[in-house]
Symmetry: D2
Subunit: 244 residues, 4 copies
């Protein structure tokens, strides 16, 4: 049983009428619904409105894969929560960053780079091409996924070279973007997946759902390890031979 | 002219008599001396004792390569200084982390991982083997550098897979360590080089000096770019098409 | 002085009238012309029609960067010539594969993979986006290069993960392609650059010329080493401590 | 059920008395014995003495993981057999190269580099250190494996930068070596593991056995794909959208 926690800042869906129509109970609810059909997954959700963002060390210790959606409220996530997520990933928890989570605190802490990108509000369509057709995250996907409308993201995307590039996207306006990027950091696996702007019903697309479900299975840890002494503000000398 | 800034926490050399004998004016002074003989380099130094650690945005803007030595005072470097160094590297400044700088705030921010390692106080000797004999950083070095005594560092060293592994070390006690690791992050190049415990006269070794000088030339930027919006605590949406 | 050898199979330009109109003296001649304006380069050419394809060990020993254009005559290059090129690259010679050189024998020997891709005869336009804006190969290039017409190449491109991805392309038909890929193999640097179908005047484009010139400077070796014993058919035990 | 084929040149064990004492029925037999205890594995063996080296397209099509041991008879493996193995790996078959298989034809074809290394006949002991303690291939292994005697291999090992470095070794004579290297090429996974000189009883060591068994499970394919057109000597244009 893989324990999945879906985190959503849950702001647009409550504050903007046209978004509420698409995701009346929030993006996290739609993701929880389709993942919940997978009997190997145990799915919970949390949002920025919950106590302590719904993320405590105890909750993280019981999470195998954390899915993150955030956009305009990144700053509202406390630094210590971001650092706790980072540490959990280094200790083996899988992390899936969706769409504008490229700019979330946990993702940027894990990448070490600016994570900026080019973007353009648009009504472009998107083609998500499979670069690694035999990778488990692309299982069940044909040559590409076609989305009738998505926000345009473009290169340069300032990330470390991905360990593995799974998807590459083109937009009808001409831009290209590395839309499915896989990393290993410490004991954890990280997958960034670009589609999912709040004003488009992307997470209802069955192929997008398939990729996210594939990714949950792929980044789920085989084991977890405890890590210590990695807080940015306070470092003590490592103990001899204590691994992370 | 490459503008080099050598930063040292400068603590052991002032507080411990046996270290003071080896580096009476500080490790930074010895490094500055041998780099100063290279006419293509303009060398300055800074220490933790200087105002604002000797590191301000203005100083970083005039620095092409920052060399960092720190060990037991990492916590005394303010977070905003660490973040300013990180940002300067992402914008193109070269960074050379020496010895226990693996645990410095700037290095860990750039790596995104715990950067822990195994270690053992010892009187081991070390052999630093060349893995990439044709790489510019290894120019002038034979098959290995032999150090009669160094602190023992060992795997697992919890870093992202280096873009290029230049040196690998063995210690007489049997440990192995990835002792010369090269990364590109944003527009900047980062080189981590393990030798240089404060109680050993390692920086007087001419081959070690050669590697550091080679590395300065290699990580020096061809260009610098301005980056914005990358502070951990405050993120604003990026401007369309503004590169970092 | 960088010694550049431009190799072209020189078939389409002699056998097809509409190609001859675009490149009357061959693609190699156009490339030689624009590279010849760079005073740091010494430029020669060779074609499949020359004795021994114009490539002998003596010629390779005097070549710093080999540029390769081939399409429908890959099979006519003898295996021993392909292996000699491979060995020269491993020994430090730079290699630039243009367009359908993805399927040339030397490139495939160096990659170790099938190097297949998707393609489509088309009149698509192409946008070549810069992924690494501060990389020397992208110097002087704005956000993208626009080509009014090119042959469509698409993913999956079956190559090892590039050490560095410099350019990514989109085509007006929707395809995406990793169009600028950088590798280090042995002592040599390899750059694959996709544009340049024979029926389009791509090599007259000044931005394409700029990229190729940048690449020549970037992959030029700092040193060459001798390698031995790497022929596929005959391997003798390596001498102790003989590097390649 | 994972179908494993263990290939051995089977020369030393038949021609040298002191080797025959260690491996009377051949190295492949000892490996088959310990792998055979794993009920998820179906184990067969083949040697250079078999018809067509015991490797035909039909046999490869029924093989999930190929383990290769060769040393002084690499040249006796026909080129077309080596290329068939390469193609099977690119199509998804796992490949484990043991010890001097670094110089086997299939491994070198897949790497694209010289694969030379430094070596020294010795009675050195070896410590195989775990670099990635949470990787499945290192499961069940403590900080290191100690071998009382092994042939000394040393850097520089002329391979492409491994996708993941799992083990690093030191030898009592001081050398270091990247002794456990993981690659993905096409649809296949490749693991190179250095220990196993014929004059040492290394394959009776239970921890070495554990690593090899772990590796078999890790490199076993989730799916196989057919590839075509990748022979060095004869290339035909790829079909549109035919993947490998």
């Amino acid at each position: 049983m893989i324990r999945v926690l879906i985190w959503n800042e849950f702001w647009h869906e409550r504050s903007e009428e046209h978004i509420k129509k698409i995701y009346p109970d929030g993006i996290h609810k739609v993701i929880a619904d389709f993942l919940g059909k997978d009997e190997e997954l145990n799915v919970r959700t949390a949002t920025l409105e919950d106590d302590h963002c719904g993320i405590t060390p105890e909750i993280l210790a019981q999470t195998d894969v954390l899915i993150w959606w955030g956009h305009c409220r990144h700053d509202y996530v406390p630094d210590d929560v971001a650092m706790a997520v980072r540490n959990a990933v280094l200790g083996g928890m899988g992390f899936i960053g969706l769409h504008s989570a490229h700019f979330s605190k946990p993702f940027r802490l894990l990448m070490g780079t600016a994570c900026t990108l080019s973007w353009r509000l648009s009504h472009d369509s998107e083609l998500i091409w499979v670069v690694e057709p035999t990778h488990p995250i692309a299982a069940g996907i044909d040559r590409y996924i076609a989305l009738p409308e998505e926000e345009t993201y473009g290169e340069p995307f300032r990330i470390p070279t991905p360990d593995k590039l799974i998807f590459l996207s083109s937009f009808s306006g001409g831009e290209v973007f590395r839309s499915g990027c896989l990393y290993e950091r410490g004991a954890g696996k990280i997958f960034y997946f670009q589609p999912g702007h709040e004003s488009n019903p992307t997470y209802y697309n069955e192929q997008i759902q398939r990729v996210i479900r594939n990714a949950v299975h792929f980044v789920a840890p085989q084991q977890r390890v405890s890590i210590g002494g990695v807080h940015v503000r306070k470092v003590t000398d490592p103990e001899p031979y204590v691994i992370e």
